[in-house]
């Protein structure tokens, strides 16, 4: 195990050398080539990022290195040499000796990648026990050290806890501790932060960088975000449809991309595009009705606002949840005095990390939850005063698009039924009329007409989110609440969905309440932004102003967390 931190290793044998790798999957419809011809090298102490969208074969390539492919996959050709040995040919026992000890692995989703019924400390120490590197007691002590190294605040305590007692970011640190405790020469990090908030993403990637420097570990980083790759990697490998289409240093790949796919990827990455024009600013009014002084004027928006007032006015919203007696009792204030206005035909973004109260605020606006105090006015009517019949009528005018398009569509219904569901619920039109409306909606969200009879499972994530948007638009609502609508999607798909949403707003004049943890995404769509933290409004203002001149330190922190600094600098 070499632990040198030499940055000019080209003359030596690479630590990892993948040559003409081909991996195929057996499916009911025949074999599918996931990776066709992938070649790349990783030298000791180097960080190499594989970038590509879902289905590009980047994860399959990474998994092939540790032979952690699903049972339906088989290596159709090529070699994967680690320290000179071809891991596709070695015995199971030899492979077990490599895994965990010479090659560490950080998986994608920390919330499901730890054994839920085993204590954290045991799971970290287990690596040393498996490889006979320490006895049980020493291993337990070294696990605590490894947890401290990975940046857990109270490692001795967390070693005694179970995964569900830790946040997602803390669990990812645990997985980093597991990957690094045996001091491997190579760490494979498979989208290690795509399930996390941007601020946490930055902390996690910083920690991996730091440990890499200290330990001289090489890192193979898998990501769909070119911004992340540009910040962290010595070299970038771009994959598309199972093939490596381009590789080089971040400066080469981002500065002079030779392949059209790379150029498309760069254009789509919201984090790399912070110079694009902002969404048109509108006059923002706070709950008291006074205009934001710094606001530039927008004739149309102002005229609308002046004629009818804002669509939604939230005034001093508070939502408290009771805390179970066993946990100390009392109440938890999820939302604490939040006020805002959503102008007609415009987009207001609520930005914050997990637990900032942004989703709860959205639920209050949709009256899916009752505020403890405060009020929400929708088109001049106080929602809190509405009876159940009036609430049902209100539901026609306000719709919701969820974060996860994989979970929000009934898998057993054809797309046509899913989109017409709101129409049926309100008894709109005849069967034939509804079918026409569905066809129209699918056209609006740019899905092929044939989609109407297909099932969700046959669609990609981006297509599913289009279906969810079509469903939300079915009743021609005035307000659509978008709860992290692109967080589960690849950057290139994110771009398409954001463009679609902007077009829809332009055409139908619908208002959006856009919830996100990612300022880079918010920048692309929102006219005004409210930054939330622990239920409080930290800062509110026009998007362009917030980006140019953040007044609060926390806003600056969120801005700094946007990946791609290296590329933008």
């Amino acid at each position: 195990m070499s632990a040198e931190n030499d940055r000019t290793p080209d003359d030596r044998t690479p630590l990892l050398e993948i040559t003409n790798l081909a991996v195929s999957y057996r499916t009911a419809g025949g074999t599918i080539a996931a990776v066709r011809d992938a070649s790349l090298t990783v030298h000791a102490g180097e960080t190499v990022a594989i970038v590509g969208e879902s289905g590009s074969g980047k994860s399959t390539t990474a998994h092939a290195v540790v032979q952690l492919l699903p049972s339906t996959a088989s290596i159709a050709g090529g070699t994967v040499r680690f320290e000179g040995r071809d891991v596709t040919k070695i015995s199971r026992v030899e492979l077990r000796g490599l895994r965990g000890r010479a090659i560490g692995f950080v998986p994608q989703d920390p919330t499901v990648s730890l054994n839920p019924v085993q204590r954290i400390g045991r799971q970290v120490a287990e690596v040393l026990e498996i490889h006979g590197l320490a006895d049980r007691r020493t291993a337990a002590a070294r696990a605590i050290d490894a947890l401290a190294e990975a940046g857990l605040p109270d490692p001795a305590r967390q070693a005694q806890q179970y995964p569900h007692e830790l946040s997602g970011g803390m669990r990812q640190r645990v997985l980093i501790a597991i990957a690094l405790i045996a001091r491997p020469a190579l760490v494979i990090a498979d989208e290690p932060t795509s399930a996390l908030d941007v601020t946490v993403q930055r902390q996690i990637l910083d920690r991996i960088d730091q440990l890499k420097q200290e330990l001289g570990t090489a890192v193979l980083l898998i990501t769909h975000d070119l911004g992340v790759a540009a910040d962290r990697a010595d070299r970038i490998v771009v994959m598309s449809q199972g093939e490596v289409v381009e590789q080089g240093t971040p400066a080469e790949v981002l500065g002079s991309p030779s392949h059209p796919y790379t150029r498309a990827l760069i254009a789509a990455a919201p984090s790399l595009d912070l110079d694009a024009p902002f969404a048109e600013p509108v006059r923002v009014t706070d709950a008291t009705g006074s205009a934001d002084a710094s606001g530039e004027t927008d004739a149309a928006g102002q005229a609308l606002a002046a004629a009818f007032g804002p669509l939604v006015v939230a005034h001093d919203l508070v939502k408290e949840f009771p805390v179970p007696r066993a946990a100390g009792g009392g109440v938890h204030r999820a939302v604490d005095g939040v006020s805002f206005a959503i102008p007609r035909g415009r987009t207001l973004a609520l930005v914050g990390e997990s637990g900032s109260g942004k989703s709860t605020t959205a639920r209050l606006v949709l009256r899916l939850a009752e505020p403890t105090s405060g009020s929400v006015e929708f088109d001049g009517v106080d929602l809190t005063s509405l009876g159940s019949g009036a609430v049902r009528r209100f539901r026609r005018r306000a719709q919701l698009v969820h974060q996860n398009p994989y979970a929000s569509l009934n898998p057993r219904l054809p797309i046509g039924r899913i989109v017409s569901d709101p129409l049926e619920a309100f008894g709109v039109g005849t069967r034939a009329e509804r079918r026409r409306r569905v066809e129209e909606l699918l056209d609006v969200v740019a899905l092929p007409a044939g989609t109407i009879d297909r099932k969700p499972a046959e669609l990609s994530g981006g297509q599913r989110q289009r279906v969810a948007i079509a469903r939300a638009l079915a009743l021609a609502p005035d307000l659509v609440v978008l709860d992290e609508p692109v967080s589960a999607l690849d950057v290139s798909i994110q771009d398409q969905i954001l463009t679609l949403l902007t077009e829809i707003q332009g055409e139908f004049g619908v208002s959006y309440l856009f919830i996100s943890h990612d300022l880079a995404v918010v920048r692309r769509i929102a006219h005004d932004v409210i930054v939330l933290r622990d239920g409080h409004v930290v800062e509110a203002g026009e998007t362009s102003r917030l980006f140019r001149d953040p007044r609060e330190a926390y806003t600056q922190e969120l801005l700094d967390a946007i990946p791609g600094r290296a590329a933008r600098a």
């Binding site: 895994r99 990648s113 569900h164 997985l175 946990a327 637990g355």
Partner: protein
């Protein structure tokens, strides 16, 4: 924790009361009363006046609600009444029948759990596809084979062809083996079916990949990581299976001519010996409630996410509480469908008893 147990015990008392009340109402709604039955269907030598006298003596002429409250009070004192047919106290009849039944039921439960879990683990562990297919074919077969036929086959093979175990009667441990295996068959098959499915699902979880990536061996991944996670649904079902075992004794004890609750139940139902049937219902309900209480107390030891007192931390508490109900019913759902084949212990006991009597005595 103490609060939780007390709450569960209180709940258990409620369940017992409900079971007793429902069985009271059902049994008294049946056509024909015990006195007529006692006298014989075509009794000509007893005058209606004599029958009425007998009814008065047994308290059957009083209003239903009075009879009910009277009996309930007696039950609370530990008095289950007397058998109409034999005149012996019901507690005595059940007290005699219980030990042999507990012996085969407990033995059968051990066999079912060991064999069921063994098949499930082996089917997932083996790298040979054909072996997995064979092992996974066993549970459906086990559920499909009629217990009385399987019992008779066991007697044929292991008492007559190769005389290892006695065919009938109660001669200590050795005569427990065949009835216990017969009784364990459907139960073990259910456990095997459920655990193998649950285990194969668990082995596809991302945290299992994490274990592989650590370099863990197959045994460590399967037994150290997956089994404990996969065991919960099977454990939940095991609680419900106690009812299955009790109803199974009706057939098993009849086939093997053993004394026990099953035989008592079959006889009492046939002769409409209402106090005895009610006593049996109560015993079955107690067994059921105790088994499920035990399961609920063991479950948090297997899975730390199941909390017995409420949430721990303010914010995550709500999330855990929300996540848990989603997870628990999911694990309990296969249980419900698995026991669907043999619904409630009481209902199937009465249903099966009819079958048992028509099948007749064993060869």
């Amino acid at each position: 924790m103490v609060r939780y147990v007390l709450l569960r015990l209180l709940q258990a008392v409620g369940v017992l009361w409900a079971a007793y009340t429902v069985s009271f109402l059902v049994l008294y709604a049946l056509p024909g009363d015990p006195v007529t039955l006692l006298a014989g269907a075509d009794a000509t030598d007893i005058t209606p006046a004599q029958l009425d006298a007998l009814r008065a003596e047994l308290g059957l002429d009083r209003p239903l609600i009075v009879q009910y409250l009277d009996q309930l009070a007696a039950v609370l004192r530990g008095d289950l009444g007397t058998s109409i047919v034999t005149g012996r106290p019901v507690t005595e009849i059940i007290g005699e029948a219980l030990p042999p039944t507990i012996a085969i039921a407990a033995f059968a439960l051990v066999i079912a759990v060991v064999a069921g879990a063994g098949i499930a683990i082996a089917a997932n562990y083996t790298r040979h596809r054909w072996l997995a297919d064979v092992l996974l074919g066993l549970p459906p077969l086990g559920v499909a084979v009629p217990a009385f036929w399987f019992g008779l086959m066991l007697i044929q093979w292991f008492s007559f062809t190769v005389p290892i175990f006695p065919a009938v009667g109660d001669r200590g441990f050795i005569s427990l083996v065949l009835p216990a295996i017969t009784l364990a068959l459907p139960t073990g098959a259910t456990i095997a079916q459920l655990l193998s499915k649950s285990l194969s699902n668990t082995l596809r979880e991302p945290y299992v990949d994490t274990a592989w990536a650590k370099g863990a061996s197959r045994a460590r991944v399967h037994l150290g990581h997956a089994l404990k996670n996969a065991a919960l649904p099977a454990l939940t079902v095991t609680g419900l299976i106690v009812g299955q075992l009790l109803s199974g004794t009706v057939v098993t004890e009849t086939v093997f001519s053993r004394p026990g609750i099953g035989r008592v139940t079959a006889g009492a139902v046939q002769q409409q010996d209402v106090p005895v049937v009610q006593g049996v219902v109560l015993v079955a309900a107690i067994a059921f409630v105790l088994a499920n209480l035990a399961v609920d107390l063991v479950a948090p030891l297997l899975d730390p996410r199941i909390v017995t007192t409420g949430a721990r931390s303010p914010r995550r508490g709500a999330a855990a509480a929300a996540a848990r109900p989603a997870a628990r019913p999911a694990s309990a759902r296969p249980a419900a469908s698995a026991s669907g084949a043999r619904p409630a212990p009481v209902a199937s006991a009465t249903a099966v008893s009819a079958a048992a009597t028509t099948q007749g005595e064993p060869a």
